[in-house]
Symmetry: C2
Subunit: 342 residues, 2 copies
Amino acid sequence: MEHQTEISQLGEFGLIDRLTKDLPKINSSTVKAVGDDAAVLSYPDSEVLVSSDMLIEGIHFDLTYMPLKHLGYKAAVVNFSDIYAMNGTPRQITVSLGVSARFTVEHLDALYSGIRLACEIYGVDLVGGDTTASRSGLVVSITCIGDAAKDAVVGRDGAKDTDLICVSGDLGSAYMGLQLLEREKVASAGQKDFIPKFEGKEYLVERQLKPEARKDIIAKLKEEDIKPTSMIDISDGLSSELLHICKSSHTGCRIYEDRIPIDYQTAVMAEELGMNLVTAALNGGEDYELLFTVPLHCHEKVEKMEGIKVIGHITKEDLGCAMITRDGTELPLKAQGFNHLS
Amino acid sequence: MEHQTEISQLGEFGLIDRLTKDLPKINSSTVKAVGDDAAVLSYPDSEVLVSSDMLIEGIHFDLTYMPLKHLGYKAAVVNFSDIYAMNGTPRQITVSLGVSARFTVEHLDALYSGIRLACEIYGVDLVGGDTTASRSGLVVSITCIGDAAKDAVVGRDGAKDTDLICVSGDLGSAYMGLQLLEREKVASAGQKDFIPKFEGKEYLVERQLKPEARKDIIAKLKEEDIKPTSMIDISDGLSSELLHICKSSHTGCRIYEDRIPIDYQTAVMAEELGMNLVTAALNGGEDYELLFTVPLHCHEKVEKMEGIKVIGHITKEDLGCAMITRDGTELPLKAQGFNHLS
């Protein structure tokens, strides 16, 4: 970046004006966006969905390898993912930022360009928020508002005995991307003109730095006239999310190790690092894939759908939650996951 | 506090369970609250309002004199205030927390007890959010969702030439409360058993530590069948907010120094500190009073309303924004306000 402007030169309102000028209004439910005490939304005949996520520098992201534009994109997308996971459509977001003195206006422009790009691609309106000072580092807190037709909302609590457990995409790749980025960060320490080694592992880096929400899967399910009985997005790892569904639905489950979808690059990276591949797929976070259950009679339909894999089935509650390993052993599922608080 | 529990003992989900258990559902628009990817709200025939605010330790609050329960109460109330300022009713909030290692579960219980109390008093449902680790200090980010009848929403942009400018309550007291608390903090440094001197200034302390949103004023205006032409809540100081209204409405304004409502304790404190009283009332932040404009024909009605003062009138844009001092001088209004970014 060439020219850097101190945030204090613009002041709070100048900064908000700059960050939010020329925002498009995509959704008819967006009556009034940035520029008042609150945004005004209008939803005549649907359910309104709300989701919030906070990302903190040093905890959720490392600006050494996370460009600010990517961070903005990711912060928006993870919130969209929460709304899709309810079988809804994200419509509006509010963005609250805490910004320490080392950030310039150009930094925030970069962050917002990522947020705007995500909004454009997913058809979401940026309608408000708050920008304030922070003592140390960057804090990004996003709330997303979405909607769903009456009775279309899918929660975590509707899974039934014999339902099939499905996941989209593949698991563990975002976690392996993080391991790779951390490794190259350590390797680069103190070296000038360091070139990180990402060849053959570009997919892992992309999964970590630029995740997507599975809008396409939601659309496909609608096309096929399948309404999942329960659904959740995988942000803390398959194991943790599946336990959420089973706890809320008062069921147990069985999943099969050999059915968990894992990308080739994830497997290679796990091998290189001497890490257990299945552990990474079960407990690595930030996949933002969809985990959902469908009634048994949907079996043929979901088996044919591209990008969806049936990995097991729901059981009665007293059978507990377990994975059947390749050698037939039952391993109880644990939520060791991706827990930023532990 | 006697028993202290490390947050890591509960983990993220245990903590959320604890913080959100037994939440009442006050509003029929709250279909589903905490415990899924997103809350589900339903608004059949009204406008939906959304407002977000972020409070950061060391910037917006000092835990030396701000008890956590008060902080929670205040963080919720300032968001409610934004929804009232649109002539709406707050219905739901989501709470995102960033928490550093020095905070225990009991600390968060105290914070949440204040949030819950505010929700109870104002009739708002807590429907979700996010709790995560932070590297330094506490971050509280709240988003409030509210509603208003169709065509009831009042923005900043509807003020017209000759409209009367009104404010609720009194101004500058929260700012003077902050000065008092800071003074006593400095005086107490290094002293054991220090007793701060708040006698005769309890109102100032309360205005800073436990502000209220003017739900009552919104109700009174409705009773009197007055719909303001524009409205805003005073969080950054009268001067700054009035400039917002005039800018959005393409108008100017004249307010009268001798009509600005100031409490006796505020005046005493300004005297003690050798500060300009009117500057404090114009630019001191966090009053959370309502500033609004009404058509001239409402003059008799608003003059009679308790807790509301007419302080001036709206003019054509080319006349600019100014205060008429006691000696008849015109002073241009400036937004030097309460700017956390400057």
